[in-house]
Amino acid sequence: MTSIIWYIREFLRPAWISRFLTAKTEPLVTPPYFRDFPVTTENECTQCLACMMICPAPEAIIVVKREGVWRPEITKGHCIRCGLCVEACPEDVLASGRILATKKEEKLLLSGTYHISINPKTCMGCGNCSVVCPVNREIDPSLRSSGTSRSNEVIMRVDTGQNKILHEEKCTGCKTCEEHCPNNAIRVARVVEATEGGKL
């Protein structure tokens, strides 16, 4: 009996009745603050690779040259919509939801150092990492497909059957090398710190 009374009371609420008489499913809209896949803005990309450095998903974002200009490109199946690349880009090339606006408001500052470690047991000296490294290719365009180089200015090169690090400080942490190593022998650690510039 009590439950019947409960049901009657439940259905006699004005909110229920008005909803019943004007039954309508609200249209599905994506709210403007939803953190969607990042999109590019009008700003110019300087190929600093900060976006690739911070990205936690494998090969979600790559910076490529299309028709003479560098642009970041996002692979939707890989991107997890974390929005870290939007926060990391110093030129505000990327935008997603309200992250870009918040970042400007907070005057977010990202600083980082990068450390490469090579496992000598699993590195077989194939040179993939030295070849794909965008900084290496910029420094020595004539870098061989075997990863050897005559330049002493490159980040790393293959030397006597193993990959050797020469200039760790030039690394941008983009982890392209990590993604192209067949043995997971090379690992790039990104020591990144984010602080609010304006409010501190």
Binding site: E87, R187, R190, E196
Partner: protein, 361 residues
């Protein structure tokens, strides 16, 4: 004593009432359940192995993906663990914002658990009401963090975004809405005679059995054990937290404990909003080498992260202990044994809020 087993009754792995695959094997005599065994292993991810060797930036996102229902607590626990290693203290406002997001996540997790229970006992009306209310919580989570699940809100040294006043206002009105609606739903649950028939005195877990089997979370708290890792957390202490404890130990108590905890979360968020002072939310800080065992209270109980980092913030070793495994075992060996009806198997199992994804990681 020799037991006569009529039939070995399998429930699952694919079952309309289970959110995730697992199999319960019950030895029954007629309707009476003599013993039960839970078989897991259908959704193993091996996520701890994937985490090893990766920098914290990546592990943070992997940690969130251990469990889809309670992702915030994994983010929270992992980040606080690495912060403890490196001696980073988040700004005060960020600490409160973390609690707010974590409690919103707990609310949606508990509402989902209670939805599943109501659905399991065939009270679909109430189930849909509760599920609808969960959407209000999810909307608030999305408003604050930008995503409904896997929010990636908590990072070392603080949180990623502040909560401006307009969003705080919308959060407050949502809390009022939840408070009034849920009061109504809880009354329906408390006074429903059919609900009582399916819930009161069913699946009893005594305090002794819960202690012996190390039950955790609302399952333990509904059996009169006052365990809650939030009592040891400084931010929760500042908010005057004390665990919700019930003593009946049956299905009804477990569901009511979760409803009570939703109200408690509402109040925690309200007091956090009151206590919060304007200030920075992102303090920065670099992750250093060290090792730690860090535990916090997930919606389902105690969650433990045991990890080792190197000097560049990479995770060398990691082991995660999730709460559900304890509750699933205690459910199989204590609650399901001696159940009077085979129809109660699923409702007892669901009342312990099993999360298979985080159990198998």
């Amino acid at each position: 004593m020799k037991k006569t087993v009529d039939i070995s009754l399998p429930v699952g792995p694919v079952h309309p009432l289970f959110k995730e695959p697992c199999r319960i094997k019950c030895e029954t005599r007629g309707e009476y359940v003599l013993s039960a065994e839970v078989e897991l292993g259908y959704v193993k991810k091996g996520i701890e192995r994937i985490m090893r060797g990766r920098p914290w930036q990546e592990v943070m996102f992997l940690a969130e993906r251990v469990c889809g229902i309670c992702s915030v607590i994994h983010n929270y626990t992992f980040i606080e663990a690495v912060e403890k290693i490196s001696g980073i203290i988040p700004p005060e406002r960020a600490a409160y914002l973390r609690v707010i997001v974590n409690e919103l996540d707990r609310m949606q997790s508990h509402l989902l658990a209670n939805y599943s229970y109501c659905y399991t006992i065939e009270h679909e009306t109430l189930a849909m009401y509760v599920l609808n209310l969960r959407e209000t919580v999810m909307d608030q989570l999305e408003l604050i963090t930008g995503a409904r699940v896997t929010c990636a809100y908590i990072i070392p040294g603080g949180v990623r975004w502040d909560l401006p006043d307009d969003r705080a206002e919308s959060l407050k009105s949502a809390l009022d809405h939840i408070d009034s609606e849920l009061t109504r739903f809880v009354r329906i649950f408390e006074t429903g005679p059919f609900i009582a028939l399916r819930s009161k005195g069913i699946g009893i877990l005594t305090k002794e059995a819960a202690e012996a089997a190390y039950a955790v979370g609302p399952t333990a708290r509904a059996s009169g054990i006052s365990v809650d890792c939030r009592s040891d957390h400084p931010t929760y202490q500042a908010l005057g937290f004390s665990p919700v404890v019930r003593h009946e130990g049956d299905n009804y108590a477990r569901i009511m404990a979760r409803f009570d905890e939703v109200f408690q979360s509402v109040n925690l968020i309200r007091s956090a909003l009151l206590k919060m002072q304007p200030g920075p939310v992102r303090g920065g800080g670099v992750i250093q080498a060290g090792s730690i065992q860090y535990r916090m209270e997930a919606p389902r109980g105690e969650l433990l992260y045991d990890l080792v980092t190197d000097e560049y913030g990479r995770i060398l070793e990691i082991a995660i202990q999730t709460p559900s495994i304890m509750n699933i075992q205690v459910c199989a060996h204590e609650m399901l044994t001696d159940a009077e009806s085979a129809a109660d198997i699923t409702s007892i199992f669901i009342s312990s809020d099993p999360c298979i994804a985080c159990t198998e990681r």
